[in-house]
Symmetry: C2
Subunit: 571 residues, 2 copies
Amino acid sequence: MFKGKGVRPDWSETPPPKKSYRSIFKYGDPRKFKHPNHQWVTMLRDELGMKDQDFRSKSHEGRNPVDLKRGLTLSPEHIDILGNIVGSDNVTTDLYQRVKYAYGKTTEEMMELARGHVREISDVVLHPRKKEDVRGIVKYCNTAHIPIYVFSGGSSVTLGLRPVEPGITLVLATHMNRLLELNEINQTAKVQPGMMGPAYETTLNRAPERIMARRRYTCGHFPQSFEHSTVGGWVVTLGSGQASTYYGDAADMVVSQEYVTPSGSFRTLDYPAAATGPKVNDIMKGSEGTFGVLVEVTMKVFRYHPENRRYFSFMFPTWHRAVNSAREMAQGEFGRPAVYRISDPEETDRGLKLYGIPRPVDMFLKKRGFKPMQRCLCLGTVEGDRDYTRMVKRKIRTVSKTRGAVYLGGYGARKWEKTRYTEPYMREDLNDYGITIDTLETSVPWDRLHDLHQGVRRHIKGRPRTICMTHASHFYPTGTNLYFIFMGRFEDVDEYGQFHSGIVDQIQEHGGSLSHHHGVGRMMAPWMAAYLGKEQMAVLKALKKHFDPNHIMNPGGQLGLDLRSEQTRHP
Amino acid sequence: MFKGKGVRPDWSETPPPKKSYRSIFKYGDPRKFKHPNHQWVTMLRDELGMKDQDFRSKSHEGRNPVDLKRGLTLSPEHIDILGNIVGSDNVTTDLYQRVKYAYGKTTEEMMELARGHVREISDVVLHPRKKEDVRGIVKYCNTAHIPIYVFSGGSSVTLGLRPVEPGITLVLATHMNRLLELNEINQTAKVQPGMMGPAYETTLNRAPERIMARRRYTCGHFPQSFEHSTVGGWVVTLGSGQASTYYGDAADMVVSQEYVTPSGSFRTLDYPAAATGPKVNDIMKGSEGTFGVLVEVTMKVFRYHPENRRYFSFMFPTWHRAVNSAREMAQGEFGRPAVYRISDPEETDRGLKLYGIPRPVDMFLKKRGFKPMQRCLCLGTVEGDRDYTRMVKRKIRTVSKTRGAVYLGGYGARKWEKTRYTEPYMREDLNDYGITIDTLETSVPWDRLHDLHQGVRRHIKGRPRTICMTHASHFYPTGTNLYFIFMGRFEDVDEYGQFHSGIVDQIQEHGGSLSHHHGVGRMMAPWMAAYLGKEQMAVLKALKKHFDPNHIMNPGGQLGLDLRSEQTRHP
């Protein structure tokens, strides 16, 4: 059956039924799909040991309506008062909304929802209209000791949105989603936290037409979740975009922030730099909703010159050479590319098979000694001023060639750019056939990179019939990140969870950070105590106590701040 | 008398007598001098209204030996125990040492010491040999409630070293002054906090000869106090060097830090980036000794290629054009210069008079319409890769010319570079004749720059016979700093203090930060409450309480953390 054209799985092409479990866990646009191609299917068959019949029937699609019964813990009086703050149109105890806003896009969440298994949900969902609403809500909830959870884009892959204790969820993207001010002198944009990536970027790109600006701008932040995440979410989780090597991580773009916390509201200072003690602006970044609610943020923006963007791709003979070249790029003091990605041999090999490589190119490479499962693909872009992009691209070519690379033109990078946001659409397709694809990511100084890469790969590949692809895609003078993509079939959520935790253990043991840009949430929380150490965890707990003495902000494990010691994990 | 060659003041050319007050307040090397030249004297005569006889006799030179009587508050038992920790050679209650290590280089300190007026001093001076000594000292002092002050390079100009409460002073530069490790893979250097700038930079520059490194490196941090400040001092006060526009501020170079605090010792994480909650590494930066003692720091280092350095200088027709050009440089996305400085019309005019401009150049400029008290000098350097420095310099020329500037070659920048660290040597010369020269600095977004510049100038120039020169020298996409140099004659420290505070009020009122790179110390402390606002000051106080519950670390006003409300100032 698999011979010749092979099996054609019946990939789902219909939007999830309204109010179904699937409508909650499906990634991205309900009407948008991206299916694994024929090469993918061949790979799954060959490597995950799947049989013809495995592709005949789907299981756990979650197409049934959300139909659970859950009572309310909050008294009607509380709900009335909260409703009065935001207006009656913006408060609901509807069960579907309560479930919908209790979930992000974590793999375990999808697996459970697909089986109709719902964990904790909030009692009430509120859609605040403005920061004054948030102030009123936080003040009331602080007095009444009502837990507050915040949902913005909903793209968390770290169980960051789970309302562990009965309380309320604020949805920020409904109303608090506008660009408030573009300051062309300072090149800053004041934004509401619930503004989605595309709305923000499009407004900046088209600033002359839309808001009579003199120039076009770009936000510089393009995570894979760009289309379904918000500016506020980027900041509070310390996100990083695909062009971070040039533009910086989300935290680097933050000029100032306004927060509503149980202990008070404030706007941080907006100076370009200041030697005036520890910076509250920094302290708030990455607080993941545990200190307070971000209600406004002023971000750096950058001049938008897509006409200057230059694309490049290279093949390196080995991973070591690709890494060495990337390090030279990051330390060579000649400027930086925007996007820069190097794929390890397994990712390179699978990538070429899955997405195709023109036969002449493949022949040429093999002839030149670039062997499958050794060679490594590198691709990227340079952005900025025209002379700058020309010079930086030229330098990268020289640096790469010196390390044995062959230049492959800009095609690969352009192709990657076109599909940069759509890969996650495949996860439901795979899940329908019992295949789990997921990622874990970490950052690491250069001198621990190879050990970490090998250690984590060894662990993942130690499991039979498991695929592992790795790339590095965010570069700093002192190191980079490693992004592990793994794929396998798991009996159930528990088996998957154990496997997943084992990878995190390996990352920790080999000297990688707990996350480079996905954040901590509740998923990484158990490792935080060992990761930070007692003294530094105590610092975060002291801040938590200061901002939120009644422990109402995102309680239940987030950042590991309120875990009991038996809930922590020490690899 | 002033006609013709004019008066020749008898500038001091002898090192301060041993153990004199002057030996404490004299800037820099005791055997090094730099005197105001003839043009300076002419300026002082013309503008400060000084007469011949004012230059005949000096007053308040502080050449007498430190001879005060001060008892000890600490019991001999405490002193014995502390002495046992550091070894008997490294502990002293000698009065001269107690005074010496109680002072920085703040103007008010010089004025008072020159008059033999000594404020608070510590009981005991300790020279810890290693971080374990510091751990022992902090632990003991925390139990015994003994205040700890830390002296490193001693270059504070913000009263940052004043031991307000009777306790001990730790001197870090005596023993804890070495480079511990150079990691060439990560391009990082692990340094003890008391390592002086020149020792650090020279070791990095000569790394191949000194420590068998493969390459030469530079620290990238060159404050005016470079020769007399330490790596640890740069970090805990949030310093910024003259090449910060390219290399970043000191805080940007910090990879990780190790602290000893009353609530525990820890080393912050060393990942190139991490999305794992608020960063303790950031929280500690700028804590100015109030949270704990920095005992080791890992800094980014950069490749050292002085052969690629390019110099430039320009004359702009007006301050507005110079500022616009600087903003284009900072926002133009073509890379950045290392040093970049623009002087306002008064600084330009005085600079040309004081340090000379070749007559043909002056004629040429005037002919081209560059009028005195309108025209503005710009100078700088580009560092990094050879192609990078060539391209960036070319771009800066284009940007500047487009805004009406004339290129003046590299001479001005080279001349500036030669004397970049020596200007402060003149302050004792001037003080000997009753003239005070001092500086205040601030950072500001572009859109508040002109208002701030004019407001502060108006205030300073509102005082009769007072000189004010301003430059901007640290550039960011969102703004820059303003550095005000002022000169006048004051009756006494009180009159000067009032004038000084008035300037800080103006800076605050016109939207500048309390400091860009001098830090807060006790000098700016009274403004901190208004500057941060109640909520953000409460955050710093919560951290203080966490790290230092017994309030032993640098107590007495530092950062404004323990000021009573009547000690605060609200402009």
